[in-house]
Amino acid sequence: MSDMDLVVEICGSAGEGTISAGEILSRFMSEEGYDIMSFDSYPAEIRGFGKCVAHTRVGRGEVLTPGKYSDVLIALNDIHAIGQLPVLKEKGILIYDNKPPKYHLEDQSVVGWLEPGMIPYGIPLTELSIKASGNSKARNMVALGAFSALFGIDKTSFIESVKRRYGKKKQDIIDSNVNSFLEGYTWTLEHVRKIDPFRFDGTGAAVKRDQLIINGNEATAMGALAAGLHLYAGYPITPATKIMEIMSKELPKKGGIFLQTEDEISSIAHVIGAGYAGKRAMTGTSGPGFCLMSEFTGLAVMAEVPAVIVDSQRGGPSTGMPTKHEQSDLNIALNGGSGDCPRVVIAPTQVDECYQAAVLALYIAEKYQTLVILLLDFFLSNSIKNMDHPSPPDPKYLNTHVLPDDGDLPDFKRYKITDNGISPRTIPGKTGGMFFATGLEHDERGKPVYDTKSHTLMTEKRHRKHAGIAAEMIAPHITGCEGAVDIGVVSWGSSAGAAREAVAHATAKGIKAACFSTQFISPFPEQALRDFSKRCKKILVPEMNYSGQFANMIARYMERPMERLNMVTGLPMASEDILKKIEEIA
């Protein structure tokens, strides 16, 4: 098993330590040198006794998706875990409590539903937890102990990892966790006969390392903070709230300003105000909040004020499905608001890319004095990935105001027509640098005008900025076979990982395939796509929306028929689904 690749789900009730067990496991695996990706789900109600699933994929190679099906299901709650059995693989493994305090009624025991071929390992989770810690709350740690024993995980390293995680907690909490882990570990070694082939030991994992284990929201917030964010104004909304939480803690420490506003309109207004004042500012929201901001997005573009909006997409329209995944805000991100309104749209495809994307967003907004929309989605916001500690942003991305020469000041033309569309601007307070900033069409000095010529020139100038941005954008990510291929998969945002993985699997199966994905949606790497398109017999565009918003958008660059894979399952794109489609059309 040199290419260890395991998807583990821990399923329990809220309050049973399900999510924290998943986190402990992914953290440890990452420290051990494995690539991980987690995507947990928990009840829509914040406090409830609903179902929680901690879903983690651990792999030796690069892990691009959390995996649609699981190899191992750890059931902390039978009823909830029964609901996860459909995603357990044919030869999947179930770890369950074989000695719960009370008998389950018929068909309410998870192991009772196992399909032939699946492997059950019964562990007396509750009993061992009580034995080790005096209560049944440490069942999650007992289960991790059992898991470690079954899959050849070094117990000493694991315990060290747990101790590091609980470092600042009381000793008895650490002891209770460690003892419960050991109880599960020892019991399993002594009592369970392993019949599955999975083992981590002997897989020659990479060198141990200290890495970040973070989700897309955290990476975004980290990037923004590193890029010198000064103000964050926002209104809570799933799935973007986490960014706001981080900002509320971190910004004040750095002398920045955090504001929870009365609504999203106010949030974007604050951001534009700060941008006008020369400070880097950002807001974060999801579809419904983004709609409210639409009018102000126009102002940022028209008045040429830097502004960054993070839109973490969720199931829509309207309130839709707050805790479900979808990629259906592309249309509004690209086209929302009134008028000819060029804006920058960046959609990172992986958690680690969120960091750089946030840096770039603030940089572009400041330098090009315009609106940048960072398009995340529920999956990217919540999926957890290991990544190296990012190096601080290149200084060229910091403090990038394009300021006028003092000689220009006596007759300051704030909206001077330039070749690259960027007009030097003053920061308010600069002597002689006063100007009108308005949402009305204006002349070079900012004075409202309505004549044909001015509007034409100004509209052109605003659009000209994109050529400069295009020159600075991150190149598309192209993987798979080189040269002519049968299938070319064109993907964007968080679906790109699944697309790359599917293409890799297809290639391994002998299908000639390649994958094109881009973080930059606007401006768009048109030529690169045309070049890619030329070597593909067929083009497949998978995305998590119904109408094919991305496919519709790129159609104009290629003018050729496309295969589409559109799904609105509320779940992340799965490589299995893309692979199936590839095999269908290949």
């Binding site: 009370k102 009993e127 009580i130 034995k131 209560n135 049944s136």
Partner: protein, 583 residues
């Protein structure tokens, strides 16, 4: 004294029927013990290392703890809560009793609550367990007691029925000695009905207690039973216990499924038999002996041969050569153990045998004492629970009035009979039963104790067993083993109760409950005897009158006690004790 529903703050002695009901239902082992031994109490003492106190707690109910700790048929363990199907195996109650006797100090002080001499004289006929129990209690109560024993040694079946490898005679004699030291006069070798008449005893003594047991073996009533080397089990054991070596040959067939049959088989093995079979009519499952005993028998390579019925014993020249059996099949019967075996027609087959021991039960023989005694079958007829016969001053206790029963029942009956005799002699009750309620500040137990598995008893190797000397097979627990086994006891005498006045119905206790021991109830009915019945459970919150702990399901793990945010769970030690009425 109305105690039951109120939480006790200090020690209280209650005679409320609800408290008697509580003790009866919540301490299943004690209730199953014919002598009502305070089992949680004495096990707790072992846990604390107080072996002497443990021994004395036993002695209050049973004057032969060292003996019963070895050979009791353990009715308590069948009911031990730890043995319920989801909880593991019962506590080794019996072996712990032996530990109390074994581990107590050799300087141990015997406690006796002696009453002043009453001037009354009582004769006890038979020095078996019932007679010894009666004699001891009567002496304590101040009466002058004379025991008439037909054999040359006291002990009855303990001395002549049970083999030495199960009960060393020094243990037996020491505990008998402790009874005799109260001034009991033991006349051995005197058979009432032959050497002295019952009538003369009745005229000489203020009361006479018959405790003559069941000395007459039952017969198969099949052809060939009179052949040489066919022994009634009781006679066989008596001869072995007298030190004789009856001929068994190599191939021994024992017929019967009780403790005596096992003793005969195991003794035959020690007399040199190489193949011993125990032939039973039903199956192992329905044998009236415990699993431990079955295990020991099998360990000694003795085989059970089930589903067979003896048709006749076959012989040549007057000596046994074999048995002709019929196969049987099980059939339902309305009385415990709910099965009978009936032979199947045309299923005869023959197995060879050098000797046959027939141990299929025994009966009492009142006619040999006096023809005037009224009988029911072969049992002496007594008034219900009063042990009195229709003859003035004549009482009967033990197997002679109950039919064959276990030793602990005989001791219990002897003692109860003595109390009846005392009431007859003094025209009043001097001892009464009460429930002692004692609030305790903690649950006294660690949850981890619940996961300790039953401590096996170390025994002799097979080779050691068959060596001459009849060495005791079971070695007894060491101090460490006893300490571990004692931890396993749930201490069911600790009863748990939720104070409904303080409970906030958060159900945190229900969440941590290890089984369905805490219930939402609409009410509790009162049984005809004044005790509380089973809870009326409900799942509808608007019907819930209280959240209550079912002490019959509770395993005293203390989880609820620890989790309760209101500290409204109280633990009370409830013990059945005997009080001196005059005090």
């Amino acid at each position: 004294m109305t105690i039951a529903s109120e939480t006790v703050k200090t020690i209280v002695y209650s005679t409320d029927p609800r408290d008697f009901g509580l003790v009866r239902k919540s301490i299943p082992c004690q209730n199953a013990c014919p002598a009502l031994t305070n089992i949680p109490g004495y096990i707790r003492c072992i846990h604390e290392g107080r072996y002497g106190r443990s021994y004395e707690l036993n002695r209050m109910a049973n004057i032969l703890p060292g003996v019963l700790g070895r050979i009791c048929s353990r009715p308590c363990e069948l009911y031990c809560r730890h043995g319920e199907s989801d909880l593991g195996k019962p506590v080794s109650i019996c072996s712990l009793k032996r530990s109390a006797a074994d581990l107590k100090s050799p300087m141990h002080r015997i406690m006796e609550g002696l009453y002043s001499p009453s001037g009354k004289k009582v004769a006890v006929v038979g020095a078996g367990p019932a007679g010894l129990g009666a004699a001891h209690e009567l002496s304590v109560l101040g009466h002058r007691v004379v025991i008439y024993e037909a054999f040359e040694k006291p002990g009855g079946m303990l001395m002549y029925g049970i083999p030495e490898f199960r009960l060393p005679r020094d243990v037996l004699m020491l505990e008998i000695e402790n009874i005799l030291r109260l001034g009991v006069d033991l006349k051995t070798g005197v058979r009432v009905g032959r050497d002295v008449s019952l009538d003369s005893l009745l005229s000489e003594y203020d009361a006479v207690v018959l405790s003559t047991g069941c000395p007459s073996p039952n017969n198969l009533n099949v052809p060939g039973e009179d052949l040489e080397n066919v022994y009634p089990g009781l006679d066989f054991m008596e001869r072995v216990n007298r030190g004789e070596k009856p001929y068994v040959g190599k191939n021994v067939m024992v017929i019967g499924d009780g403790f005596t049959a096992m003793d005969c088989a195991r003794s035959a093995l020690r007399l040199g038999a190489s193949e011993v079979k125990i032939n039973i009519r039903k199956t192992e499952e329905y044998m009236p002996i415990d699993e431990q005993e079955k295990h020991e028998v099998k360990f000694e390579k003795i085989r059970f041969y089930s589903l067979v019925d003896t048709k006749r014993i076959i012989g040549e020249n007057g000596r046994v050569t074999g048995i002709e059996f019929l196969r049987t099949k099980l059939e339902y019967s309305p009385v415990p153990p709910y099965r009978t075996a009936s032979p199947m027609p045309d299923s005869e087959f023959i197995l060879p045998a050098d000797s046959v021991i027939v141990a299929i039960g025994q009966r009492s023989d009142p006619a040999s004492i006096s023809s005037r005694i009224k009988v029911s079958g072969s049992r002496i007829l007594t008034a219900d629970d009063r042990f009195s016969t229709d003859m003035e001053g004549l009482f009967a206790a033990g197997d002679c009035m109950s039919g064959p029963a276990n030793v602990i029942s005989a001791i219990a009956r002897g003692r109860k009979c003595a109390l009846e005799v005392d009431e007859y002699l003094t025209r009043g009750k001097r001892k009464i039963q009460v429930v002692r309620l004692d609030p305790v500040p903690s649950t006294d137990r660690d949850r981890s104790y619940d996961f300790i598995s039953r401590t096996p008893m170390d025994t002799l190797d097979f080779d050691e067993r068959v060596k001459p000397g009849n060495k005791e097979v079971e070695k007894g627990y060491s101090e460490e083993q006893a300490a571990i086994e004692a931890k396993r006891c749930y201490l069911c005498s600790l009863t748990y109760e939720i104070d409904t006045k303080k409970c906030i119905y958060c159900s945190a206790c229900i969440d941590v409950a290890p089984r369905d021991c805490i219930k939402m109830i609409a009410g509790v009915p009162v049984s005809p005897d004044g005790s509380l019945g089973d809870f009326n459970e409900t799942v509808k919150w608007n019907h819930v009158a209280a959240i209550a702990i079912d002490n019959e399901r509770c395993i005293r793990c203390g989880q609820c006690y620890e989790v309760c945010p209101m500290d409204c769970i109280h633990v009370t030690k409830a013990e059945l004790i005997e009080l001196n009425k005059e005090a």
